[in-house]
Symmetry: C2
């Protein structure tokens, strides 16, 4: 515990090695890093957390890379947390992607971390949240969280960002479906990447139509305060349109601050995180108390169709809860 807090103090002091070690601790086992997180937590709340999400094949990772470079060109520090299993940041890169990533190597104003898939539902969300907190605490002004945007866990992660950028690309054939699937309601900035390809204008028009239908219900406030997600076109491979995306992200941050939505999004993120951590902690404690042998017995009985899972859970928790109620 003391060692973890020391690590936290060193990371706060700008020690890169301590920062990397701390993040590894969070990834390896959440509980070991908790003293450090408690130390860091009062220093959080400064960073602008930007989710970047979109289907595989939209060029999302390239755009994240370009956004990071553009932020550095403005002398803004930036952390990147890649939760997308197909991202080059997570090691799934083709050679070309790795070469592009070199642009950012060796710059102390950038920190890139990929998140491995976790063993349990919710584990990925918790670890990602904690890594974002660490990067916030040690002073990165913007934290980009890249998620694949096609799974429930990933959409939930994107939803907790201050600003969410949703990326589409022409010709994937999935753009309208992706929007219907809930990505639209979390989009603050829409980007049609690969805008040099045929169909980019149609994709942008399709997005425009969806926005016109959705804006009254959008999460960006109502009436005068309403935020209308801008639709931007980019060619991430050569950087075209990237400054405009950055400007829109900044404008959204200003809108959140001016309208009070910044605070309500913070609260929403905290509530989601509290529920997630409570769930995992309660399960961990229960399983530690009853032991693996008992769990195996329950599993055997359910697998043998002697009893169903809900009845087992009621039995376990009925007994457990009798003292507490």
């Amino acid at each position: 515990m003391a060692a973890d807090s020391l690590l936290a103090a060193e990371a706060l002091g700008g020690n890169r090695y301590a920062l990397a070690r701390l993040i590894s601790l969070i990834e390896d086992d959440g509980t070991d890093a908790r003293a450090a997180l408690a130390t860091l937590y009062p220093h959080t709340g400064q960073a602008h957390i930007v989710g970047v999400t979109g289907a595989p094949g939209t060029g999302k990772s390239t755009l994240v890379n370009e956004l990071a470079k553009a932020l550095r060109a403005q002398d803004t520090t930036v952390g990147v947390v890649a939760v997308d299993p197909s991202s080059p940041f997570t090691g799934g890169a083709l050679l070309g992607d790795r070469v592009r990533m070199r642009d950012l190597a060796g710059d102390p104003g950038v920190f890139i971390r990929s998140m491995a898939s976790r063993g349990s539902l919710g584990g990925l969300a918790r670890a990602t949240n904690d890594v974002v907190k660490v990067l916030d605490a040690v002073g990165f002004a913007v934290v980009l969280v890249e998620t694949v945007g096609a799974g429930q866990a990933e959409v939930d992660i994107a939803r907790t960002a201050h600003t969410t950028v949703v990326i589409e690309a022409p010709g994937l054939g999935d753009e309208v479906q992706a929007l219907k699937a809930g990505l639209m309601e979390i989009a603050d900035v829409l980007v049609v990447n690969k805008a040099d390809r045929p169909g980019a204008a149609q994709t942008a028009r399709a997005l425009e139509m969806v926005i016109n239908r959705n804006v009254p219900d959008a999460r960006g406030g109502v009436g005068e305060d309403a935020w209308r997600p801008p639709i931007l076109q980019t060619i991430a491979l050569d950087g075209t349109g990237v400054p405009e995306v950055l400007a829109a992200v900044g404008a959204h941050r200003d809108h959140l601050r001016a309208s009070g939505l910044w605070a309500s999004r913070e609260r929403a993120r905290v509530e989601t995180e509290l529920r997630n951590v409570l769930q995992q902690e309660m399960l961990g404690r229960l399983l530690a108390r009853v032991g693996e042998g008992q769990v195996a017995t329950w599993v055997d009985r359910i697998a043998a169709r002697e009893v169903d899972v809900y009845t087992v859970v009621q039995t376990i928790l009925g007994e457990e809860g009798s003292d507490a109620d």
Copy 2:
């Protein structure tokens, strides 16, 4: 409770309307349907549960549709549970997909259900599991579970199937990454769909190489018992290769039964489900006990950076746990 059990009895008796009502109950609120699920549960364990997963754009939904048609042509009953937000079964279809779906309409040997995205992590997995159980109990011989295969929750759902079919398509540029991202370890049958497109042979060869690296660690048993995932090519749009996929799925079922892996996969699914339901139930009980006002107070204090989430959770559960220990 009595009404739900009656619904279960009617569904078991072959009443389609009762079946649909029951599934709606599961989707609306898991707790209302629990008496019905307890009634149905002893009737489960007969169906072959087949996960079908792959990135958007691989033609996964079309292939699921063709597999269902081919099963019906063999007089095998089939349930389809679509968890993919971009699937035509979930309502995100373009007109062409809807037209194809009509092939199955009106056939009592088929039941198709799409799962909406749930409000919480784990909610989707639980509801999907329960719908699969219902379809199993009422006698569908094969249940196809279609997931998008790009998110943690969706991969977890696919992992709980007896047999998992992973679909790739040439030219998406993501095939190798997707495999590295954990889809490979859950694949029992690999399909390169859109095999009439350029690059299909290369994609198949890339999969072959990955399998050669992975087979010693594959989950299909060791030594003589090892299952080597076949790599099949299909053109789902015209049905080419679909009988071969069905044959491979059947061969995998036979392998599972002969090797004893059928039972171990059942146990793995049950254990995952037990943990998931325990977590959600414990959280629900805790929140009901402490009340929304108290939750809001915690959220406020965390959002104000007075205290971090882990410390709050320790405080809450430390108090809660004192009686039980």
